[in-house]
Symmetry: C2
Subunit: 193 residues, 2 copies
């Protein structure tokens, strides 16, 4: 079972696949992709990852059927990576992983992404961040409102693991809904009613 | 005033900028970009265009500070180009233009995009299509539900202009909200209550 391989129950055990250099930064995205496809198949939610923003400089149109981009650069995204609809509600989140055992470096999230999450909350959407501690094999959902409060009260450049443990919600890892974040969204929507 | 240049009041007058080959396909996107920025600045809505999906094949990392993509191809988008939040409601739409004076070719919208708009409607979101008749200098909003009914009843490969005129909503062109589509969304939300 893939789940067991990806998320051993023993904490601090080293997941070889997750920390191998070639796969670094891919697994959280892959797990969310599988999760979102599962939600879509079950007609639970429609959530997609936005494509990576790329600035195209040169395109070779000489082959009629397949334009080939020959020069392009990565752009900084204006928003977050994921958004969609769940139970009629707009949801929006950023997902990031860290190799650190003790804290989540804030440099991982751009200031304009925080601002975007804040806007979404103010417009009545449900905004959050998913943080993966790769070496702890733990994923947390932190609500944007909670994160905002923390950022307003601190000058630190990272969020301690303990704060995330206390203020975030540990996401259950299942076989198909590998990162079953909607379960937590459900709980939070219920609490807010 | 840009507005007057872009949308002359006389119908069927030819707008040189819009039909010039180099700008073709750019103006609707530009106008929506200005409109969405205006909505964001006024704190009315948070709507963004998704980046174009691109499949990256080769990246040159030799220059440390700017990875250069040297081979990439355009992918077909799984969803629509625009989504966001308005008055707490999830909105989702595709925007297309046609040079035709008499009909909108359905080949402009992919089957999976129609399916996506259908999903959004079923999940309680507000889904629609914006169609620009470039040579008529007219923009229409057509609700996804209305479009779906039409597609289920026809084998035609295009939608006649007259049908769009009768079943869609002409979008007002303003100076800043160049395509003031939220005005129509407002009206439709009101009617649905």
């Amino acid at each position: 079972m893939a789940k067991v391989i990806n998320y051993p129950n023993k904490k601090k055990s080293v997941n070889k696949r997750t920390i191998s250099h070639s796969n670094r930064g891919m697994n959280l995205e892959e797990d969310l992709s599988v999760t979102n496809q599962y939600y879509l198949d079950l007609n639970l939610a429609v959530v997609y990852k936005k494509p990576t923003p790329i600035q195209i400089v040169k395109v070779d149109y000489s082959k009629r059927n397949s334009a080939k981009i020959t020069e392009a650069y990565f752009n900084v995204s204006s928003t977050t990576d994921y958004n969609g609809i769940y139970k009629g509600k707009y949801i929006d989140f950023e997902a990031k992983e860290t190799q650190s055992l003790t804290s989540f470096p804030l440099s991982n999230i751009h200031a304009h992404q925080i601002k975007h999450l804040d806007y979404i909350t103010k417009h009545g959407g449900f905004a959050f961040v998913i943080i993966r501690f790769v070496k702890l094999t733990e994923d947390y959902l932190v609500e944007a409102t909670t994160l905002m409060k923390y950022l307003n009260e601190t000058t630190r450049k990272s969020i301690p693991y303990q704060w995330i443990q206390e203020n975030g919600y540990l996401i259950e890892n299942k076989y198909q809904a590998r990162l079953d974040y909607l379960k937590i969204v459900d709980q939070l929507i219920k609490e807010s009613l």
